[in-house]
């Protein structure tokens, strides 16, 4: 009987363990080892911290790293600010078919690949694109307007790509908030802002944190959007990793970059959890 339960447990846990070990632990150990290697000659390698030193010595790498982190945080914040009212509307105000239709609208962009989505934005924003054409047609500008290849375009793309991942956990947590509690807030003398501040936001914190973590990680790890919409000044850290691995054949430095990105996202997520007094278990449970 006991042996039977144990066997059952092992069988149940085996796929998860296999997945963790094969796809997460082993590649990361490999990455860590790779990042500690230095090429000393043709086909010759030695253990050293040279790759990490290169990262610290080259202002471009450090600057790109920080810029990526700041932009990803900013994209997360913007997504939250836009996503919160949208989620509130879907969870609490819209009813029945309107509710499902709105939810579906958030989902629609994900029916096409990220590449197509990004191309869509390029068609809209480029100099010969729709928006530029519309502005000229309306007589608001004299010549074509280039809206592509800058940080704002990149931010638009990142926020658009991430919106669903913010809205889903937010809608879930907001739906779990009893309407009576919001009404009680008003009934006891609360105004809109104070109900939002004291009741709705504290209740939604697990959803906010869960959504923010996902959006932050997605933005930080995004490659296509910054490259295609950001243009010549995009400077995104994943681009550096890609070029080290693929273009420069410098896997060692690429691995070091990959590891630094992992550390960065872990630190920021940890800080976010600490700041909001949440735990990972609680947050992921709510999402």
């Amino acid at each position: 009987m006991r042996a039977g339960t144990r066997l059952g447990f092992v069988l149940l846990i085996a796929p998860l363990l296999l997945w963790l070990v094969l796809l997460i632990v082993i590649p990361h150990v490999d990455l860590a080892l790779l990042s500690l290697r230095e090429r000393v000659g043709v086909g010759e390698y030695a253990v050293s911290m040279a790759n990490y030193r290169t990262f610290l010595d080259e202002p471009l790498y450090l600057w790109t790293f920080l810029r990526t982190a700041v932009m990803a945080v900013l994209a997360t914040a913007i997504t939250l600010v836009i996503g919160f009212p949208v989620s509130f509307y879907i969870a609490k105000i819209a009813r029945g078919r309107v509710q499902s239709a709105l939810f579906l609208l958030c989902l629609v962009p994900f029916w096409v690949s990220e590449l197509v989505r990004t191309f869509g934005w390029m068609i809209l924003l480029r100099e010969t694109g729709l928006i530029s054409g519309l502005l000229q047609w309306l007589g608001l500008t004299d010549g074509p307007v280039e809206m592509l290849y800058n940080d704002a375009a990149m931010m638009v793309g990142l926020v658009y790509t991430s919106m669903l991942f913010m809205v889903v956990p937010l809608v879930t947590t907001l739906e779990s908030l009893d309407d009576g509690i919001i009404e009680a807030g008003y009934d006891l003398g609360g105004s809109g802002p104070s109900v939002l501040r004291e009741i709705i936001i504290p209740h939604a914190v697990p959803g906010i944190v869960a959504g923010s973590i996902v959006v932050f990680m997605l933005s930080l790890g995004n490659y296509l959007t910054p490259t295609m919409l950001g243009g010549k000044d995009s400077l995104w850290f994943t681009e550096l990793i890609y070029s080290q691995f693929i273009v420069r054949f410098n896997w060692e430095l690429g691995a070091a970059f990959g590891f630094l990105l992992l550390v960065l996202s872990s630190v920021i997520v940890w800080a976010m959890l600490r700041l909001t007094g949440q735990t990972l278990e609680k947050t992921m449970g709510s999402a």
Binding site: R39, V42, G43, E58, L60, Y61, W63, T64, R126, E127, T128, E146, L148, Y149, T227, M228, G231, K232, D233, L235, L240, S243, Q244, F245, I246, V247, R248, F249, N250, W251
Partner: protein, 356 residues
């Protein structure tokens, strides 16, 4: 060196799962450029030999990265450029020598075959034979930017905000030639090469405000030029000829400093399992009629002897317009890239990218 570069991971996966076929009919897993293996050619090949062909499209860097990741496995035949064979082979050992007795050398243009053999020899073994060749230079809208005749003309005020190029090594090399230096001569001298590259880097940083966007894929460039957002760009000859078909003002211009010539080759990955099929494919596509079919889809000429006769007159006309005899003589052929050169170029490109 060709265009679209989207990874076909699925193809890699399925490729590695296919079981070993009997020697007579093998599955050839071909890692190549877009348009180098047209459907019609594959169908003909499969019909004649009984082999099946699975194509994965890629570019130089990704081909090497993929083969490096598997130690030279997952594919039976690959087509990197001839200058990118000896370096990665010495460094990573991802290819195996070609058994020249299996290849019908009479089908090749002798000078091109000899040059490629020489450039791909490591420790006395030949690793590559030539397939498709072409050049990169400038694509110019001659109506809007008639004065662009060399790489450095892209930095003129007259075309400010309307030019494009890639942030990759051909740009560095092209600019170096246009600035009166010879980077190929400095290939084996890291210090001299670094010095040249630093000068080119400064030029590119100064030139940055002129650039609309650094293009990444061929389709992206075609869009930029076709829409008129870009009037001059560094590009491959075939891209210019394709645009010329739509708009006669746009064409490929061989720069004064010389177009950069490349040859894409056939190489055998170290862990390839279908060598017989690979040799069959090489011998098959080098037949003049087949080579001409590839030229018609890819736009580039091949190292197949006598294939020119079968190529469409239109394509020949465009080629002759872009390449008067003196321009052909001026083509700068890429010598083999020594290992480690990419690191020097990478640092420069990073700096250009970061400059504000």
């Amino acid at each position: 060196m060709k265009h679209s570069t989207y990874l076909t991971c699925a193809a890699v996966l399925t490729g590695s799962l296919v079981l070993v076929q009997p020697a007579a009919a093998e599955t050839l897993r071909l890692l190549t450029w877009g348009n180098y293996a047209p459907e019609t050619v594959i169908a003909k090949f499969e019909e004649e030999t009984g082999h099946t062909v699975e194509v994965t499209l890629s570019n130089n860097e990704e081909m090497i990265a993929k083969l490096r990741a598997t130690g030279g496995g997952g594919f039976d035949l690959a087509q990197p450029s001839q200058d990118r064979i000896t370096g990665p082979q010495m460094e990573f050992g991802i290819y195996k020598p070609i058994d020249l007795s299996q290849i019908d050398e009479s089908q090749f243009i002798p000078s091109m075959l000899a040059a490629t053999k020489g450039n791909t020899t490591v420790d006395g073994e030949v690793y590559g034979v030539p397939h498709v060749w072409g050049t990169s230079g400038l694509v110019v809208n001659t109506a809007e930017a008639p004065d662009v005749t060399d790489y450095t003309d892209l930095c003129d005020d007259a075309v400010a905000g309307k030019v494009s190029y890639r942030l990759k090594r051909p740009t560095l090399i092209g600019f170096a030639f246009a600035m009166g230096m010879d980077p190929f001569a400095a290939y084996d001298d890291a210090d001299a090469y670094t010095e040249i590259m630093e000068k080119v880097g400064e030029k590119l940083i100064d030139c940055k405000p002129n650039v609309k966007a650094y293009w990444g894929g061929g389709d992206e460039l075609m869009n930029l030029v076709r829409s008129g957002e870009v009037v001059a760009s560094m590009a491959w000859d075939t891209g210019g000829w394709k645009l010329n078909a739509d708009n006669p003002d746009i064409t490929f211009v061989a720069p004064e400093a010389g177009a950069l010539g490349w040859i894409d080759t056939f190489v055998l990955p170290a862990k390839g399992r279908a060598d017989a099929a690979a040799y069959d494919w090489i011998n098959f596509v080098m037949q003049p009629e087949i080579a001409a079919m590839i030229t018609d889809t890819a736009g580039n000429f091949t190292a197949s002897k006598g294939a020119d006769e079968y190529v469409s007159a239109e394509l020949k006309a465009r080629y002759q317009a872009s390449f008067p005899p003196e321009a052909v003589d001026n083509i700068k052929w890429y010598p083999p890239v020594p290992a480690g050169l990419e690191a020097i170029e990478g640092g420069i490109l990073d700096r250009v990218k970061a400059a504000q």
